[in-house]
């Protein structure tokens, strides 16, 4: 891991200094332009280099001081970079600048006429010019070293010690050179004549020094790729060539035009890298600032994303409870878009019963308590309560509350359902146990009474009393039998049946039991799966539900019996934990009665729970149905809405065995291609019959009322037969037929009636010879009756 972190350091260092990054195209272009400019000025000056100008010795210290400061500063900056980056190249460059800075010192001190006439530090006439050669040869040599090592990116160990040793060595070299040119002055070949003109030796030496600059330039130019600093160094070396060329090589003597102009190039060479480094600093600041901004932006974007994608509701309110912000999830959870909530007071949305608790909790949050798992209901836009679990904090700094609320409505509903089914289970066990014990007690009572009644010696009164005990005992036994049904302990005789047959078979009984004011309709699925169930008990359950439905409709109404195949999948099971996933045949009983409120609905299956008046019901009817269905491995579900009616669905598991009667081949329904107008006000029933008729080959047009039927006929559409409901709002079936019969005499008619065929006739609703199809009917009944009316097969 240590190696890896070292790598990270170096990588970070490499990207930190812009000068060490690969040069850009624009950088290369501007470098080229600068070089062209430098060369152009140089060439322009060439003819005038030997033009003598006024000697101004004070120029030297001013100029050299500038060089010194600039070189030393550059060296310091480069050493600073080296301490981070620790590459050989940076060390070489830093040393090059340090060398020139140091070399300037003895050169300046020894310059004749500046301080004492012959210069300080014991300099002779040749000292200064030789020190110049040392200074101007040293720099290009060190640049060559740089060019040679610059591609080596490995970090040197012991950077500080290395920097110090390099600085010391540089000092040493300059000191040695100074000593050689002062103490060893007598050994130096003469370069400069007393009139400041150059000797031949001077030309040899200075051309040699100048040549080093060209070699340095070449070595830089050949070492690709260029980093930004390489481009800068190329400019520096070009300026350096201009300096040495003008001021020492191509001029004639000290203080001529070349001497001064060359020093201009020298100044450029000394200042350029420093200037560029300062400019780089500016760019670096710009980049850091940019990074900071983009970092802040991305942090803001991220919190924004969290806010916007949260499935929980995030709510921010101020001291007064006014909503400042709310996450878009509010639309899904509460039905309000954020813009409908922001600006309003939070408590407007809270369920009234939970208002006081919420106030307390928020006050507690204000004094530093963290609100955690606080349950509070809100009111959905559609009016229903939504259960939310809240977490919240009060931020004193922002003077705002931050809340996060999770919708647990479904979870609570599921828990409630589980609790309910566990309760039913427990009550069932208890009931079963009690019933069992009662039955044993009743056994003793009833058997003894029975035995006593066998005696011939009883007085009439005694016989009557014993009969009374026996009757009560039987009533109690009947009660416990019902309790056993609820507690899933009754005796069942399951057999394979098709519930359609059961519905058809119960038809007469139901009509008799329910009375004429209840219209019965049935939608039966022809392909209904077979199920294994106690036929008698299922029949009893069906009658029971229908009687309940009747009682819910004292002023009459419609009872719909429906069968269908249903696959209860894992999704359904997740919401109804007591159900086993699989295929079920479903039998549904719906009424258009009074319906029940949710708190009643929750309890309808509990034993002895009744909404009927005292003495009207045992409160065991639905409990028995519930226990029976459960004992048969089925499932029962009730839906109800006050004023709309109640629907109870019974699901019985599908069995593969064919139903008892189904062993006979099913009769094939006769088909036809005539045109039929079907008039029925109930959409569900109409759609079901429509499908059946079409599957029999008929062309069918539908009308939801007598009025619509007449309009269809008047529009000129031709029909062979009209199938109409007897009872419809507005014009009823028989009246419709009367109106239509006069104008379209060829139109055959079949009535559909919720009453039995005979009842319909007996009430004079339809003519005695009319074709009547009584609901509920199977597809085969429909096919036969329609065919019969149309004539022929």
């Amino acid at each position: 891991m240590a190696v890896a972190s070292g790598d990270i350091d170096r990588t970070a260092g490499r990207t930190l200094f812009l000068s060490l990054q690969p040069s850009s195209e624009s950088g290369r272009r501007s470098t080229g332009a600068l070089i062209v400019l430098l060369v152009a000025v140089f060439l322009a000056l060439l003819p005038f280099t030997k033009l003598p100008l006024t000697p101004s010795p004070a120029f030297i210290p001013a100029y050299q001081a500038a060089l010194f400061v600039s070189d030393l500063t550059t060296a310091a900056v480069l050493l600073g970079q080296f301490s981070v980056q620790r590459t050989r190249g940076l060390l070489a460059l830093a040393v090059a600048y340090l060398f020139t800075a140091i070399a300037i010192i003895p050169h300046t001190l020894s310059f004749p006429g500046l301080f004492p006439a012959a210069g300080t530090i014991g300099a002779g006439p040749q000292t200064t010019v030789w020190l110049y050669m040392l200074w101007h040869a040293g720099f290009p040599l060190l640049v060559m070293v740089y060019a040679a090592v610059k591609t080596d990116e490995r970090a040197l160990p012991g950077a500080t010690a290395l920097a110090w040793s390099a600085a010391a060595a540089t000092f040493g070299v300059v000191l040695a050179g100074t000593l050689m040119t002062t103490a060893g002055h007598s050994l130096l070949p003469t370069l400069l004549l007393p009139d400041n003109t150059y000797t031949t030796t001077m030309y040899v030496v200075v051309f040699g020094v100048w040549g080093l600059d060209f070699i340095a330039l070449l070595s830089l130019a050949l070492r690709r790729p260029y980093k930004t600093i390489d481009l800068w160094m190329i400019v520096v070396v070009v300026a350096w060539i201009g300096d040495v060329g003008l001021s020492a090589t191509l001029n004639a003597k000290r203080f001529d035009l070349g001497f001064y102009a060359g020093r201009g190039y020298g100044l450029i060479a000394a200042v350029f890298v420093l200037a560029m480094l300062l400019l780089e600093t500016r760019r670096l600041y710009a980049r850091v600032a940019g990074d900071l901004v983009s970092e802040r932006d991305s942090a803001e974007r991220q919190s924004r994303r969290v806010f916007e994608t949260s499935q929980d509701i995030i709510l921010i309110t101020d001291t007064y409870g006014s909503i400042k912000q709310v996450s878009p999830s509010s639309a899904r959870i509460l039905g309000y878009r954020p813009d409908e909530m922001v600006g309003r007071i939070g408590r407007e949305f809270i369920f009234p019963d939970d208002l006081e608790a919420t106030r307390r909790e928020v006050r507690a949050a204000r004094v530093g308590n963290v609100m955690r798992n606080f349950r509070c209901r809100y009111v959905h836009k559609d009016g229903r309560p939504v259960s939310l679990i809240w977490t919240g904090v009060w931020s004193q700094a922002d003077r705002q509350h931050f809340f996060i609320g999770r919708d647990v409505t479904d979870v609570e509903a599921k828990e409630e359902q589980l609790r309910q089914s566990q309760k039913m289970e427990a009550v069932g066990q208890l009931t079963g146990g009690v019933a069992h014990d009662f039955n044993n007690i009743l056994m003793v009572i009833l058997a003894n009474v029975e035995e006593l009644l066998e005696a011939d010696t009883l007085l009439p009164d005694q016989r009557e009393q014993l009969n009374s005990i026996a009757a009560s005992g039987q009533r109690a036994a009947e009660l416990t039998r019902r309790l056993l049904a609820f507690s899933r302990k009754q005796r069942l005789m399951p057999q394979s049946i098709n519930m359609n047959d059961l519905v058809s078979g119960t038809d007469k009984l139901l009509r008799r039991t329910l009375g004429e004011h209840i219209e019965i309709e049935a939608i039966l699925d022809d392909d209904l799966w077979t199920t294994n169930v106690d036929r008698a008990q299922l029949e009893a359950a069906l009658v029971n539900l229908c009687v309940n439905a009747r009682d819910a409709m004292p002023d009459g109404g419609r009872l719909l019996i429906e069968t269908a195949n249903q696959e209860l999948d894992e999704v359904y099971v997740a919401d109804n934990p007591e159900v086993v996933a699989g295929d079920y045949a479903m039998l549904t009983v719906s009424d258009t009665g009074a319906g029940m409120p949710p708190d009643v609905l929750k309890k309808v299956f509990e034993p002895f729970f009744t909404t009927k008046g005292v003495g009207k019901g045992t409160g065991l009817g639905l409990s028995m149905v519930y226990g029976f269905i459960k004992q048969s491995n089925g499932h029962i579900k009730i839906y109800s809405e006050v004023g709309r009616g109640t629907t109870i669905r019974m699901y019985m598991p599908r069995t593969d065995a064919a139903a008892g009667e189904a062993a006979l081949p099913a009769p094939v329904p006769p088909r036809g291609d005539e045109r039929i107008l079907m008039v029925e006000d109930d959409d569900q029933v109409r759609t079901a019959i429509l499908g059946q008729l079409r599957s029999l080959g008929y062309t069918v047009r539908e009308a939801a009322s007598a009025q619509q039927a007449i309009e269809r006929l008047e529009s000129g559409e031709r029909f062979d037969l009209m199938l109409t409901d007897v009872i419809m709002p507005g014009i009823d079936g028989p009246s419709l037929v009367k109106k239509v019969g006069e104008r379209w005499p060829g139109l055959k008619v079949v009535f559909m009636s919720g009453y039995s065929e005979n009842a319909a006739r007996n009430h004079g609703k339809v003519a005695a010879d009319a074709h009547v199809l009584s609901k509920p009917f199977r597809k085969i009944d429909l096919a036969l009756r329609v065919r019969e009316a149309l004539g022929g097969a």
């Binding site: 069992h436 014990d437 039955n439 003793v444 009833l446 058997a447 003894n448 035995e451 005992g473 056993l484």
Partner: protein
């Protein structure tokens, strides 16, 4: 076997831990013309079955402490393969009827009992 035939009446072993109910069963069956042996527990019943007594039918209460009716029937059939059994119980817990097994829900009338017992005894023993 045919009690009406006046030959030898069938012998029934009645097992119930409740003394009152057991006595009632004994009285009822006796008055119907059967010969009856009674036992107050499963263990006692199995002792009888292990002996030489001729038993045509086991009439056993389902819920008894210790060995329940189902267990008694199972062990009894181990001793007497094909033994006919009538279970009596205050609730129904799932034993299906077949030729050799019948179920009677308490409280039952004497007529129910007679009908049940007669039916099972009329079924040929496997």
């Amino acid at each position: 076997m045919d009690i009406d035939g006046g030959k030898v009446a069938a012998q029934i072993l009645v097992v119930d831990d409740d003394d009152q109910i057991r006595r009632i069963a004994v009285r009822q069956l006796t008055s119907l013309g059967f010969r009856v042996i009674d036992a107050a527990s499963g263990v006692a019943a199995l002792d009888v079955l292990d002996g030489a007594a001729e038993i045509d039918l086991l009439f056993v209460d389902v819920s008894m402490p210790g060995m329940d009716g189902h267990e008694v029937a199972e062990k009894a059939r181990h001793l007497r393969p094909g033994l006919r059994v009538v279970f009596a119980s205050g609730n129904f817990d799932g034993e299906p009827d077949d030729g050799a097994t019948q179920f009677l829900l308490k409280p039952y009338r004497k007529a129910d009992l007679a009908e049940k017992v007669r039916r099972i005894l009329d079924t040929p023993q496997p």
